[in-house]
């Protein structure tokens, strides 16, 4: 039970610190809107075809904007050498990882939930028809994004070109999760229910989430202790 208490302490700390400055979350939101606008020039939102693929576009927006938040995850521990204090504290590496991942998950999900209506307006897309299934896909996909983003933030925390490196490494690794989320979102927006053909993508998302969460929980301490 200690484990969960410590996890929540870390999560609360990250959320409190971020909400005080709002640096990452503002940047992510602005970035999301900018990408949505940019896409409207590349793909005419008025065309039927665009509306069909728009679910895919949405996840590109989420991935790019989300990365802004996720990169900061361990980078925010660098000023004042706060990372040292966390590593020295009697908490298991898995609790540190889970706490940060939870905080990140909340932040990225918040950005996504704000982007969703904007997306609906810009692209004239009704995304509310299967809202609960959509939220499930959002949650699963965002968790995958969060896990990889958080662990890679830890991996690159001490590297010179951290801002460049982390996205470069994260995106290829995310492809299966993004692909599944895109496929499911496109179907859900078009009105198809979850199940049948879609099951396989849902399962893939879950498998992805489970495998990489497990790996991250186990390996975080190895990453942080020299």
């Amino acid at each position: 039970m200690n484990f969960f208490r410590q996890t929540l302490v870390i999560a609360r700390k990250d959320l409190r610190a971020e909400l005080r400055t709002k640096e990452a979350i503002n940047a992510a939101l602005a970035f999301a809107v900018v990408i949505l606008v940019l896409f409207s020039f590349a793909f005419d939102p008025l065309e039927e075809q665009t509306r069909e693929i728009s679910g895919g576009l949405l996840w590109i927006v989420f991935a790019f904007a989300g990365t802004l938040v996720l990169n900061r995850s361990f980078a925010r521990e660098l000023p004042n050498d706060c990372l040292d204090a966390l590593v020295a504290a009697p908490i298991p590496g898995s609790a540190l990882f889970l706490g940060k991942a939870l905080a990140n998950f909340v932040l990225v999900l918040a950005v996504e939930l704000v982007s969703l209506p904007v997306f609906g307006i810009f692209y004239n897309v009704h995304w509310t028809s299967r809202i609960w299934s959509l939220l499930l896909v959002l949650a699963l996909g965002t968790w995958g994004l969060t896990v990889i983003g958080t662990i890679f933030s830890a991996l690159t925390v001490n590297i010179r070109l951290r801002e460049l490196m982390a996205p470069l490494l994260v995106y290829p690794m995310l492809i299966p999760a993004l692909m599944s989320a895109m496929k499911l979102t496109v179907d859900l927006i078009a009105g198809k229910p979850l199940g049948g053909d879609n099951q396989i993508w849902l399962r893939l998302l879950v498998v992805f989430d489970v495998i990489f969460t497990a790996l991250s929980l186990v390996l975080l301490e190895t990453v942080l202790v020299e």
């Binding site: 690159t156 290829p172 492809i175 790996l215 990453v223």
Partner: protein
């Protein structure tokens, strides 16, 4: 001693390759439907298999490094990843050429090629990560963790892209169709040849890593004085 092993393996690879080239170009008949170009498959498929073997070895080496912290394992991981990356690139290029001849386009987003491309990006990321870390111990540790993640992703990537696309021609060797039995033999032999070649390259690269480590430490000594 190591030199002898390298030469020995190299010679074996060369002989086998020569034999295979002879067989591929002069002995085996043209394919009924594809004509000449089908011969590229004798390099395309073994290159992919070799690359996969390299990825597996890299993952094992990374895990071993994290357990033992012995730099030999780290050197093996980077050597084998680099060589695997080269073979994967060969797989991509041969696949692209084949596609150009048969379908008229340089790149089709079919399942196998796309998976190969994504895996290539994954492991290229490994090399970029290594480049960005100067301190050898941190570099070894961090890249080992990354390698484990990359290897875990490989099967997921392959399956997910397979379900996404289904345009790749039915696997020549493990699918339907009637194949001249000589082709099986030649393909298998070429796999052995490429594996030998890969081993030679890995050994050479390993030596390079050792020398580099010695130079690094001598340089640090010099600075300390």
């Amino acid at each position: 001693m190591r030199q002898k092993i390298i030469y020995g393996l190299g010679a074996a690879a060369a002989i086998l390759l020569a034999r295979n080239l002879y067989s591929i170009f002069l002995q085996l008949p043209d394919d009924a439907m594809q004509g000449m170009i089908y011969r590229i498959i004798f390099f395309h498929v073994p290159a992919a298999i070799t690359a996969m073997l390299c990825a597996a070895v890299a993952c094992v080496a990374s895990i071993l490094f994290l357990i033992t912290r012995n730099f030999r394992h780290d050197a093996l991981a980077v050597a084998v990843t680099e060589v695997g990356l080269a073979f994967l690139a060969a797989n991509l290029v041969t696949g692209s050429i084949w596609g150009r001849v048969i379908w008229g386009i340089w790149w089709t987003w079919d399942a196998r090629l796309t998976s190969a491309l994504v895996c290539w990006l994954l492991y290229a990321g490994y090399l970029m990560l290594r480049h960005a870390i100067e301190e050898p111990t941190t570099r070894a540790r961090v890249s080992a963790v990354f390698n484990i993640f990359a290897f875990a992703d490989v099967p997921i990537v392959i399956f997910s892209i397979k379900w996404w696309r289904t345009q790749h021609p039915q696997p020549v060797f493990w699918g339907g169709g009637s194949i001249d039995p000589r082709m099986y033999l030649t393909a298998a032999l070429n796999l052995v040849a490429l594996a030998l070649l890969a081993s030679v390259l890995v050994l050479i690269r390993l030596r390079q890593e050792e020398v580099q480590r010695e130079i690094d430490s001598i340089r640090r000594y010099a600075h300390a004085i």
